[in-house]
């Protein structure tokens, strides 16, 4: 598609001091000079599963500290794109990509440590997947993986992560109890807390509320809005209202192509492409 649609960037008052949001395409300065305002720069990305061309020439820049929603009908490639961002697609046999994906200017398909990448880019899955361990050990798993040993530090990380995900009061008295005893919504917030515990820069969420009831969904949406700013958030969602409610930017995908990418406000008020309009008005999907 045309790369031009990518450049719609809106100055957001809540960005406050950062002010880099207005620096557009050519801001790929070195990180030591100034951090670019994009968490991810995706350049000419093509992805194949065997012979199947799943992503076609995707180009987009995802903004730092904002919520970017990826929407589109099933099979449009939005989850696939999400998985390329922390290289979970490495697990899929026959998956091949061309093009560049840069995280703060660094090509994540170059010579990098994938485990470090996944520490920097956390992921929350569609189905809540707490480990069959205690609540405490679930959150502690990530920090322990990355070398945090002291009980004191772990306790602090666990409390902070659980407070940040607004679940602390619900679980503080049963940290040693199995995480699988929690309700679905609590499990998903625990999974977000688990992702936060390794201090990521970006959080990817793959339809995080599609298995949850409306009340739990509302809590998670509120939580994501609170977390944005501190973290860059990229969320795949089937639910257009959800994208409209929480995201700053929205990208619409169809059959592996990015059809349109603009501020959520603009996208839902004045979609530029006929196909986007058809989708968000519910004419297909």
């Amino acid at each position: 598609m045309n790369g031009g649609a990518v450049d719609i960037i809106k100055k957001d008052p809540k960005e406050g001091g950062h002010g880099f949001a207005g620096v557009a395409r050519h801001s790929e300065g070195r990180a030591d000079i100034q951090k670019p305002a994009h968490c991810f720069d995706i350049k000419d990305l093509d992805l194949y599963y065997g012979d199947f061309h799943a992503l076609k020439d995707v180009r987009m820049e995802m903004e730092k500290g904002r919520i970017t929603a990826l929407i589109g009908p099933s099979g449009c490639g939005k989850s696939t794109l999400l998985k390329t961002l922390n290289r979970m697609n490495d697990l899929i046999e026959g998956c091949r990509i061309t093009g560049d994906v840069e995280l703060f200017g660094e090509n994540i398909y170059g010579n990098i440590d994938v485990n470090m990448l996944r520490k920097r880019v956390g992921m929350v899955f569609q189905k809540p997947n707490p480990f069959p361990l205690s609540i405490y050990d679930n959150i502690a798993f990530g920090p322990r993986t990355h070398g945090v040993k002291s009980r004191y530090d772990l306790d602090e990380i666990i409390e902070t992560s659980l407070r940040d995900t607004a679940i602390w009061d619900e679980v503080k008295d049963r940290l040693k109890k199995p995480a699988l005893d929690l309700s679905g919504g609590q499990q998903q917030r625990l999974c977000i807390a688990r992702a936060l515990a390794v201090s990521p820069e970006v959080i990817l969420l793959d339809e995080p509320t599609s298995a949850l009831d409306p009340v739990s969904t509302g809590k998670i949406e509120e939580l994501l809005i609170n977390l944005s700013g501190k973290y860059s958030i990229i969320i795949v969602t089937h639910n257009m209202q959800q994208a409209a409610r929480i995201s700053d930017m929205t990208a619409f995908f169809l059959l592996g192509e990015m059809i349109e990418y603009s501020s959520t406000e603009a996208m839902f008020a004045r979609p530029e492409d006929k196909r986007t309009e058809d989708y968000i008005t519910g004419r297909f999907g």
């Binding site: 979970m88 485990n115 996944r118 899955f125 997947n129 480990f131 069959p132 798993f141 999974c191 992702a195």
Partner: protein
């Protein structure tokens, strides 16, 4: 006509299904009816805790504690040797092994399960006894190998049964492959792996022929890894040929004790498997 056929078929299936229950019931009946009176005659305490087994002395002693301990020690040794190797092999087969290699290793492990125990015995006599002597150690090593296929097969399916999203969740936190496997997948498969261990225990405690061929079989309290030892099963097989009277019944009572062990093991297996599901 059709209905009659149905009825007949149902009866046939019912009877075949009943046959294994019947077999268990018959075994129970004959074992208990012959063994329990002997235990009564010898005295339960004398029988189970007696340290002396000398059936041909006058008066004879029928204490099977040496054999009970012998069986327990040998089994424990087999577990110590076989379980770590077996569980690690299962992890390898389930999560590490390239497909081509799997096609070689998996049938190899399965073949191990099909080798007759007397052949294991020969292997033990030829390969282990020259190094470790006719001793408890030899029996432990040999049994450790013999329980491998059981432990590997059951642990492997337990590890494969762990939902993939646990593994992905661990990777997504920046954990490497091995950390994800050992810290998340394996703990998640815990009850299945335990069930594998319990079945391994069952296999080891019931094994007879291979143990007799390498263990030395002295009917005395086990003293050292490097000395001979006699198990419950060995005790029965070695003496049954010539035993008469109370001696014979005492051997059958030894079978009762073995049967109780197996019962305990099977019950714990079902409990663990229930937990795994």
């Amino acid at each position: 006509m059709q209905a009659l056929k149905e009825k007949i078929m149902r009866a046939v299936f019912f009877l075949t299904a009943l046959s294994s229950i019947l077999a268990v019931a018959l075994i129970c009946y004959f074992l208990l009816s012959n063994g329990l009176p002997a235990i009564g005659e010898i005295g339960p305490q004398e029988f189970l805790l007696g340290e002396e087994w000398s059936p041909s002395d006058t008066p004879p002693s029928f204490g099977i504690l040496p054999m009970i301990l012998g069986s327990l020690y040998v089994t424990a040794g087999a577990i110590v040797i076989g379980v770590p190797i077996g569980v690690l092999s299962a992890v390898f087969l389930a999560r590490v092994c390239p497909k081509k290699l799997y096609k070689v290793i998996k049938p190899g492990v399965d073949l191990l399960a099909g080798i007759p125990s007397v052949v294991y015995g020969f292997f033990g006599m030829a390969a282990i006894v020259p190094l470790a002597g006719n001793s408890m150690l030899s029996a432990c090593i040999l049994l450790g190998v013999m329980i491998l296929p059981t432990v590997v097969a059951i642990s492997e399916s337990a590890i494969r049964a762990v939902p993939e999203h646990y593994y992905e969740g661990a990777l997504a936190l920046g954990a490497g492959h091995y950390r994800s496997v050992f810290r998340v997948l394996l703990p998640a498969a815990k009850s299945g792996v335990l069930a594998a261990v319990v079945l391994g225990v069952g296999r080891a405690i019931g094994e007879t022929m291979a143990v007799i061929m390498v263990a030395g079989n002295q009917a005395r309290m086990p003293v050292s890894l490097f000395k001979g030892v006699r198990t419950l099963t060995a005790n029965i097989v070695i003496e049954m040929g010539y035993a008469t009277g109370l001696h014979r019944d005492a051997l059958i009572a030894t079978g009762v004790v073995l049967f109780v062990f197996i019962l305990i093991i099977n019950i714990s297996f079902s409990v663990l498997r229930g937990k795994a599901l």
